[in-house]
Amino acid sequence: MAKGSKRSLVLQRRETGVSYLFLLPALIFFLGFVIYPMLMGIITSFTDASFANQSNGKFIAFDNYIRLFNDPVFKKSAVNTVIIVVAAVPTVTAFSLWVGSAIYKMKAWTRSFFRCVFYLPVVTGSVAVVVVWKWMFDKYNGLFNYVIKAFGGKPLPWTESATMAIWCIIIILFTTSIGQPIVLYVAALGNVDNSLVEAAQVDGATNLQTFWKIKWPSIMPTTLYVVIITTINSFQCFALIQLLTRGGPLYSTSTVMYLLYETAFITSKDFGYADAMGVVLAIVIAIFSAIQFKVMNGGTTE
């Protein structure tokens, strides 16, 4: 018995060792390309490092952070970021759930068709997607203004307007964000225990009651994942802003992520300041994620 137990322990250790070996490549990648740059970003945010003094960045404590909160452009960018997140996350989640609910019971080929249609913008390159949208929003020759003019309306400035541009960004972000949540919801809804649904229906539950009391708790982990991923993607919305508006007009579409890039690579090339923006953005995302975990975990079935 003791011999068997010892052998089991050796086997267990060997298996553990092997599993660590399998983990090693991913771990090296994670440490080298995620943790190390993250730490360097945090360290650099406390220095005055810039392109002009690459080797001479000196420690300046919290100066970059103090500067951030006195910078009107950063404040404007932070507000824009929050607007994008607040507008995009609920709409993406709700719309995905609605579409998922509508199609998950359909025949296999119909379901596949809709999944494919909604997933198409996800697999299409973001540059190609934005170029097409840019043409549609073009105030001179764009599709939308062509239609408006065809109906006798006055063309709209779309991305050229400080009030409309951010909504153009949100629309594109919405269309490119719904694909994955829809696929996830279709899968999650398909996995809900049908016997519970049937039992509730036999007991006279309405469709709404069935959804809220049985399906919603069952798909809560999926919803949590969708909300967190959409929040992070919305906070980090960058490529479409760079390609569509470059943060303008009048900083109306500048987000923290875009301002970070602009500061580091285009304008002042002030790396320390840009990294301070990155750290603040990371902290805000972490806080949002924590709140979402806390709030939504209350409804998770275990």
Binding site: P37, M38, I42, A49, Y140, A162, A264, F271, M277
Partner: protein, 446 residues
């Protein structure tokens, strides 16, 4: 379960932090090998590694913006010719574009993986030189060369702090305006444009031309003052500076929009409110050029020898004119094409890179060909007229007399550029012009 939750949360947190920081971490300079020596780098005298001196082959990396044209194949041709004449050197070419190239360069320089040679313009090159990333090229500007380059403005544009030469120039050409001749004719605005002689014209003519174009609607808009980004922003600065003969740099050497500049900005704001011009709030020069090519706008403020090729069309006649000015004497901005050598702490590579530059720019066969491929004019007088019989090129060459001061290498140029286009956005948004100019002057010199 608590452990699982904690682990899941920690993983989510680390992903969020790393993704948020990615924009900045890639540029963390303290992680990169230092490429900024304390003192000015000097030309390598002796090879300290393998290469020409020891008979080993040296490999050098050349990053090229499409100044020789997009996919023209010229770079490969000149490399093949150079390698044949210099079998000890191998040149690896990487083509970059003007959209993502500057960012790639910044990343490469800070990461210590800069190329050996870059083909660019003085704005970026001098910035790199002053930051200590380039090899000084003073030894290439010998007395014979200096005697051959008579345009002192070009030579000054190649110098960084302390008068060190960081760029080896090959060609130069002015920036000017482009007009759609058929649109002008059909709207009757052609009467205000001078297409004779050196084509100089006045601010009043320009106002009348725009008003006529707007009145008769030959194109969707007469012209677009793009202000959505810094790409091609020299065009809008040239427009503002010429309208009432102002300069962006004051006599004290500071960035300055003076009273005449304010007057010009006010004029453009008024023309915008009347519909005689449009403002491109999210457009850079490339967007405006596309609208010109597509006949949405009847003019472009970013015309030049390179864009004439890139945005050519057979749908209408593209006429080149200098910028209009109140006294009819323009002061034009100009492009200088040239090369720099990065200081990669390898004398053999730096030496090979310099030999390659001399070959591209000065070889009796390849030098003139290289200039022609840039569609510009040689900086060396000894190359003579490379476009004999070409009236258009002769017209452009005649505008070199109108070259204004070159300010792209002045300290704070990179900081000034975003302030410029944001200032324009505010002016077209109806803000007080004087206040915006004052704000620009304060911030650009901060």
């Amino acid at each position: 379960m608590n452990l699982k939750k904690t682990l899941a949360f920690a993983l989510s947190l680390s992903m969020a932090v790393s993704m948020a920081g990615c924009g900045g971490t890639g540029s963390a300079p303290s992680t990169a090998p230092s490429t900024a020596p304390d003192s000015q780098p000097s030309a390598p005298a002796v090879s300290d590694s393998g290469g020409g001196a020891t008979g080993e082959q040296v490999t050098i990396k050349w990053w090229a913006f499409p100044t020789f044209g997009v996919d023209s194949g010229y770079e490969e041709e000149v490399i093949a010719a150079f390698e044949k004449a210099n079998p000890d050197v191998k040149v690896e070419l990487t083509t970059i574009d003007f959209t993502s190239g500057p960012e790639q360069l910044t990343s490469a320089i800070t990461a210590g993986t800069a190329p050996d040679i870059l083909f660019d313009a003085p704005g970026r090159i001098i910035e790199y030189g002053n930051a200590g990333n380039l090899v000084a090229l003073d030894d290439m500007f010998d007395s014979a060369y200096l005697a051959d380059v008579t345009n002192q403005g070009v030579l000054e544009a190649c110098k960084g702090a302390g008068g060190t030469y960081y760029m080896y120039p090959i060609s130069s050409s002015p920036f000017y305006m482009g007009l759609n001749k058929e649109a002008l004719v059909s709207s009757g605005a052609i009467e205000f444009v001078n297409l004779e002689g050196d084509r100089t014209w006045t601010t009043e003519d320009f106002q009348n031309m725009c008003a006529k174009l707007a009145e008769n609607g030959a194109t969707a808009v007469p012209g677009i003052v793009y202000c959505g980004g810094q790409g091609g922003d020299q065009g809008t600065r040239a427009l503002v500076n010429n309208l009432y003969s102002s300069t962006i740099v004051g006599s004290d050497g500071k960035w300055n929009i003076d009273a005449n500049g304010v007057k010009a900005l006010q004029l453009l704001a008024d023309m915008y409110s009347k519909g005689h011009l449009d403002a491109g709030f999210s457009m850079a020069a490339a967007d405006e050029l596309q609208q010109f090519q597509q006949e949405t706008a009847a003019m472009t403020f970013c015309w030049g020898t390179s864009n004439e090729v890139s945005y050519a069309t057979e749908d209408f006649t593209q006429e080149a004119v200098p910028f209009p000015s109140d006294d009819g004497v323009p002061e034009l901005e100009y492009l200088v094409n040239g090369f720099c050598v990065f200081d990669n702490k390898d004398a053999a590579r730096a030496d090979a890179a310099k030999r390659f530059l001399k070959f591209i720019c000065d070889d009796s066969e390849w030098g003139p060909q290289s200039v022609i491929k840039t569609n510009a004019f040689p900086v060396r007088d000894s190359f003579g007229d490379l476009y004999p019989g070409d009236e258009h090129k002769a017209l452009l060459a005649s505008w070199t007399q109108y070259y204004g001061p070159y300010y792209n290498t002045k300290d704070g140029f990179a900081t000034m550029r975003p302030l410029w286009f944001n200032m324009l956005q505010n002016v077209f948004n109806g803000n007080d012009v004087q206040a915006e100019a004052d704000n620009f002057n304060t911030q650009a010199n901060a």
